[in-house]
């Protein structure tokens, strides 16, 4: 994984991306700016296909297609953490898969992820494994209410989750998440959600974008502000925590670590404490502001890292706000284009279904 073991990754090479959504699209766009070509592999055509130089449409279970794809590229990366383990293994036999299969295995399962973090000394919400309705009852007894039941695998944007409030029917809650292996998380009374988007290269070099602050609506990211309104020590601690996680995973590429900020009183003073919520082993929606708000974008940074190239400057152009365009928000495209200083990015998706991320707008709102 050292640059020396990637002699073929020079401008002109082809990088492989699993997934044809907007994240794959923006990775491909960043690769093109650096003179690289992109081969996108996905079961369904999507916005990344329109900007890639090569495309394969095949299921992740098609090992012959995966092998041919791997043989056509210099390195493989992905836009989503739920790459099937078998697909990752088939690819890794032939080409470097970055971030590595370890990062995938750990982050695909909430129980494994939280266990890994706690072993590392990184705080999370209290949690317990839940395998059935009885297990849920025992866990609720220990962690109290409110608490949150989440499937161990395959949840995103609030899917596969159920809030356990006073009076909630536990059997019904377990059914509502598909009666799948799950965890119960104790409620964290946070004042702010923040995330670190950072990159690590194979030589151990590390570069984090400034800590940013996120607001969700209906479990979907609505707004990111950079920098986050937290104490400088809190931002430094978040960045250090992220580096520790990346070191432990020998991580190569961009990661996003979502955290809660909890305010507490200590010795009569208000202090901020961080609790890690979730790791995404990939570029992340809360890093989209870097496209128009920083010298290097998270997408370019990811490409640099997986190619064994030096990481770029994470300097911000100012105080930045990024708003997602969800579903019909995108119909306001003409007004947004008419707003001076608004940087509008659209993903080229055909249909503005409710809850679908159609684009985003970045504004530099101050120096």
């Amino acid at each position: 994984m050292s640059p020396a073991s990637h002699p073929s990754i020079a401008p002109g090479s082809v990088i492989g991306v699993l997934g044809s959504g907007q994240l794959g699209r923006m990775i491909a766009q960043a690769a093109a700016q650096l003179g690289l070509k992109t081969h996108v592999f996905a079961p369904e055509s999507g916005p990344a296909f329109d900007v890639a130089s090569h495309r394969t449409r095949a299921p992740y279970e098609d090992e012959a297609a995966l092998a041919a794809f791997a043989d056509s590229v210099a390195v493989v990366t992905y836009e989503f953490e739920n790459v099937p383990a078998r697909a990752a293994a088939v690819l890794a036999q032939r080409r470097p898969v970055l971030p590595g299969p370890d990062a995938l295995a750990i982050t695909q399962d909430r129980l494994t992820e939280k266990t890994f973090l706690n072993k590392l000394g990184v705080p999370t919400a209290p949690f317990l494994a839940v395998d059935d309705a009885e297990g849920l009852a025992r866990a609720v007894e220990r962690l109290g209410r409110p608490s949150i039941l989440k499937t161990r695998r395959l949840g995103y944007d609030g899917k596969g989750q159920a809030m356990i409030r006073e009076g909630a029917d536990l059997a019904e809650a377990f059914r509502s998440i598909g009666a799948a292996p799950a965890i119960l998380e104790g409620f964290v009374p946070f004042v702010r959600e923040v995330s670190v988007v950072a990159a690590r290269a194979a030589d151990g070099s590390y570069a984090a974008f400034d800590l940013c602050e996120n607001e969700h609506e209906n479990h979907i990211l609505a707004l990111t502000r950079a920098p986050a309104r937290v104490a400088p020590e809190t931002a430094a601690a978040a960045t250090a925590m992220t580096r520790k996680i990346m070191e432990a995973l020998k991580y190569v590429g961009v990661i996003a670590v979502e955290m809660f900020v909890v305010e507490e009183m200590a010795d009569g003073a208000r202090v901020e404490r961080l609790v890690v919520n979730e790791i995404a082993p990939r570029v992340h929606n809360s890093g989209h502001w870097t496209l128009d708000g920083a010298v290097t974008s998270q997408f370019e940074q990811h490409v640099r890292a997986i190619c064994g190239w030096p990481l770029g400057s994470t300097r911000r152009h100012g105080q930045v706000e990024m708003r997602n365009l969800i579903g019909e928000d995108v119909n306001r495209w003409r007004d947004l284009l008419g707003e001076s200083g608004a940087c509008v990015r659209l993903y080229g998706k055909h249909e503005a279904r409710p809850g679908r991320k159609m684009g985003h707008v970045t504004r530099i709102i101050g120096p």
Copy 2:
């Protein structure tokens, strides 16, 4: 050409680009950021083909291919001014061609262009038409030496030009430019070369990037600085002059107007005077700094204009320098990527031939 006459140009539409070089590539990349698709038409495959959603490889004389291309897109634009008039006419019968055929006709011929400018009251170098060696001798007698012989058509990066110095053999000079219809230009003792990169929309709205300053080496642009080191009145005059030119052409899209700055003494004070050298009816190398140095890039601005969309903010992120990577310069890509704050853009060209533009580097060097 009003937005109302472009009802089909919404995100998701396909724009047509003539030319598969780096300018076409960067137009396609900007279009993709706005959720548009691009169809590139060119006789030779080139770097734009790798990032376009559709490609046609055919000669500009293939009218059936041109017609099919036009039918597949919402609007046609181009990356170079030497689009054959017949091709432009075939396309314009079917779809808007922007900037319009007038802009092409006038800028394809140095004699027509300079005559147009002078009629508009825009100063140029003194010039005379030259049709043969005898005509050259008469022109040299009137304009003196040094002076510059240029073909009326198809010159770029110093090709099709000959400097007429003391003792130069005029017949030989005329042969050296291919004995083609030409003009002789009087020498302009300039202190600086500058350019205005600006956009005009169909509704008459106008937005210019800050005046920038250019240095050439071997007749090829080497360095652009923004802003140019000129008096504020000079910058304002350059911008106003460009707007006048665009109004006269009912221009829609991005233009680049190259000018010389001449210093003169007037009433005992040093004053700057502008002389227009050349108009490029397209995005331009001296505007590449806008990709990483301004809120909106010249490529996005061009796409906005030809789609009938509002123009974007031209605000700079700071004091900017853009250096071209010519020929083997590009072999320094790894060092450049390692330089903090350097934004490296590579065009994905296969072979680093001498004089070939392979990429560029933008640096924000001050606030």
